[in-house]
């Protein structure tokens, strides 16, 4: 079996906001066509990591490589054009435009024919919402539309920041099924930030567990979720059969 190809590589990434370390020497390789789940308590550094990879934040120290090219500190539009796109925890849409116009705008930017807009909406099962203004769509639909926009450019890497947050628990798996079907079909390398451990366990090949700006553990989902440190600081208690784990907020100083 051939060695997996490293597509994204972060080396000693550090980011500090005042006295708070949002990232402490993060070093990690992301393999092509993998799906990585990023877990951790609030403030653990997951979104900071995503923001640094996508150019929203410039690391104070360290380097980021994409397909062998250094992308550290490049602006979002350049990184997007290179093939790394993202969705947001709060969907970033064009609220005064319809869902169809949102996709058409994205297609216009990447230089694709506008006629593809309806096909893209259909892929995400958003056709019934084509003529509705994005600003009044339900949260789950907005999340999907946000991801549809991110997929318009045919990215090689897709970063999803909490794709199921704010969505009814009954809809979570339906939404993730749809997203992952598209991700797998398009052979996109994906990373998603998620708090629901059952979602992470079910949809990721690999889990990166963040804690206090560092990666506490990385590996296969079951392996990481059995990790003592992860259990202590992130999950709070072991997974029980058939029930998703409840993440507990780690109290300040609990790991001291």
């Amino acid at each position: 079996m051939s060695e997996p190809v490293v597509l994204v590589s972060a080396r000693n990434l550090r980011k500090q906001f005042g006295a708070v370390f949002a990232a402490r020497d993060i070093t990690v390789d992301i393999h092509a066509h993998s799906v990585s789940g990023l877990i951790g308590t609030n403030g653990a550094g997951k979104t900071t990591f995503v923001n640094m990879l996508t150019g929203y934040l410039k690391p104070d120290q360290g380097q980021i490589f994409f397909d062998g090219h250094e992308i550290t500190g490049r602006p979002p539009r350049e990184i997007t054009r290179m093939g790394i796109t993202r969705s947001f925890q709060i969907p970033q849409l064009f609220d005064s435009l319809t869902a169809l116009e949102n996709v058409e705008t994205a297609l216009g930017i990447v230089g694709k024919p506008l006629e593809q807009a309806e096909e893209i909406l259909a892929r995400f099962e958003l056709t019934p919402f084509a003529d509705a203004l994005a600003g009044i769509l339900p949260e789950g639909v907005r999340k999907l539309l946000d991801i549809a926009l991110a997929m318009v450019a045919d990215p090689r890497v897709l970063l999803l920041d909490e794709p199921t947050s704010g969505v009814d628990s009954s809809e979570k798996f339906e939404i993730m099924d749809r997203i992952m079907k598209i991700v797998r079909e398009a052979e996109v390398t994906a990373m998603f930030v998620e708090h629901d451990m059952e979602v992470v366990r079910r949809y990721s090949d690999r889990v990166l567990a963040f804690y206090d700006g560092s990666i506490l553990a990385a590996g296969a989902p079951e392996e990481v979720m059995r990790d003592e440190k992860v259990l202590e600081y992130i999950i709070g208690r072991p997974l029980q059969a058939g029930r998703p784990a409840q993440a507990q907020v780690v109290q300040e100083g609990a790991h001291a």
Binding site: T54, R77, L93, F94, A106, G108, E115, E118
Partner: protein
């Protein structure tokens, strides 16, 4: 999932024939101008101002309010006046080209800086720049100081030598406006043109789709300046006199008024707004000469409250009800 025929029908419906519509609008304008000859001057001035307001519409679509569109309107008018008096150019075509290009160049230079700013900072900076030009002009005797100077009537290479009549000037203005409407409608259908409302909504997403918001604002600002310069050039021909008041902030305010009155949905709207404003002003001045400003203020209030999309939304409502009835 919808059938492909439904999809294609929708796509066809989204492709209006801009050239045909612009041609019809131009012909209607010409017919009205010839039929109502006493209104020719009012309509020519309105159309010239409409061009400046059209530029403003491009910026408003991007979520930017400019109080400095008068700068380019004035630059276009002064470019015409100076080219006539100092270079001896009399033909309308090179004069209008000069007005457009000189305004575009100034807009491009200032646009490099202004494209970094948003909201009130953008608005105030545009106001500052136009007032700087105003200050420079009123203190410059070579350019006529606060009195300005007269502009001769231009010639037109396709016609026999001699000054253009008011009717010919009206027809030329209507054609220039028609071509501008067509060109801007085409621009609005391009990826860059479509990006305006998107940027107004969410610049973060625009950047994360791979486009540069700053670059887009720069080009929209430059185009807006060029259109205002063209309008200024036409104004100098029809009024025959230019002065620094063209750059005064109230002139820019009037363009903003026109843009809001007409609406920002398409390239036709500002001309509707400009003609409506000139008609309201003329009639108010005739019937209530001491309180015409109140009439204009009340008109604006009515539009903002009852037609937030501007006068053009009446046309849209009418077209929609006609489509339902068909």
């Amino acid at each position: 999932m919808k059938s492909s025929s439904t999809m294609h029908a929708r796509q066809r419906a989204r492709r209006p024939q801009h050239a045909l519509i612009a041609l019809v609008v131009t012909l209607i304008l010409i017919a009205l101008g010839i039929g109502l000859s006493t209104w020719q001057f009012v309509v020519v001035v309105a159309l010239s101002k409409g061009l400046a307001a059209l530029g403003l519409v491009l910026l408003l679509r991007c979520g930017l309010v400019s109080f400095g569109q008068g700068l380019y309107y004035c630059a276009g008018a002064y470019a015409v006046g100076m080219a006539m008096s100092h270079l001896g150019i009399r033909d309308l075509v090179p004069l209008l080209l000069l007005a457009t290009v000189s305004a575009a160049v100034i807009a491009a230079l200032l646009g490099v800086l202004l494209s970094r700013y948003r909201d009130i900072f953008f608005a105030i900076l545009t106001l500052a720049f136009t007032m700087i030009l105003y200050g420079l002009l009123i203190r410059n005797p070579v350019l006529g100081g606060s009195d300005g100077f007269n502009v001769q009537s231009p010639t037109f290479f396709l016609l026999a030598d001699g000054a253009l009549s008011r009717r010919t000037m009206f027809i030329i203005t209507a054609v220039v406006v028609g071509v501008s409407i067509w060109a801007v409608q085409r621009f609005l259908a391009t990826p860059m043109g479509r990006l305006g409302p998107a940027m107004k909504d969410n610049e973060i997403r625009v950047e994360y789709l791979g486009a540069s918001a700053r670059r887009n604002i720069f080009w929209n600002y430059t185009l807006a300046g060029a259109l205002a310069g063209l309008g200024g050039g036409l104004t100098s021909f029809s009024i025959g006199h230019i002065d620094p008041d063209l750059a005064f902030w109230t002139t820019s305010g009037e363009f903003l008024f026109i843009a809001i009155l007409g609406g920002t949905r398409n390239a036709y709207a500002p001309f509707l707004g400009a003609i409506a404003l000139e008609l309201i002003r003329s009639l108010a001045f005739q019937y209530v000469p001491n309180s015409w400003q109140i009439v204009i203020g009340v008109s604006m209030l009515v539009i903002i409250i009852f037609l937030p999309g501007g006068l053009i939304s009446i046309a849209r409502l009418w077209l929609r009800s006609a489509a339902r009835g068909a």
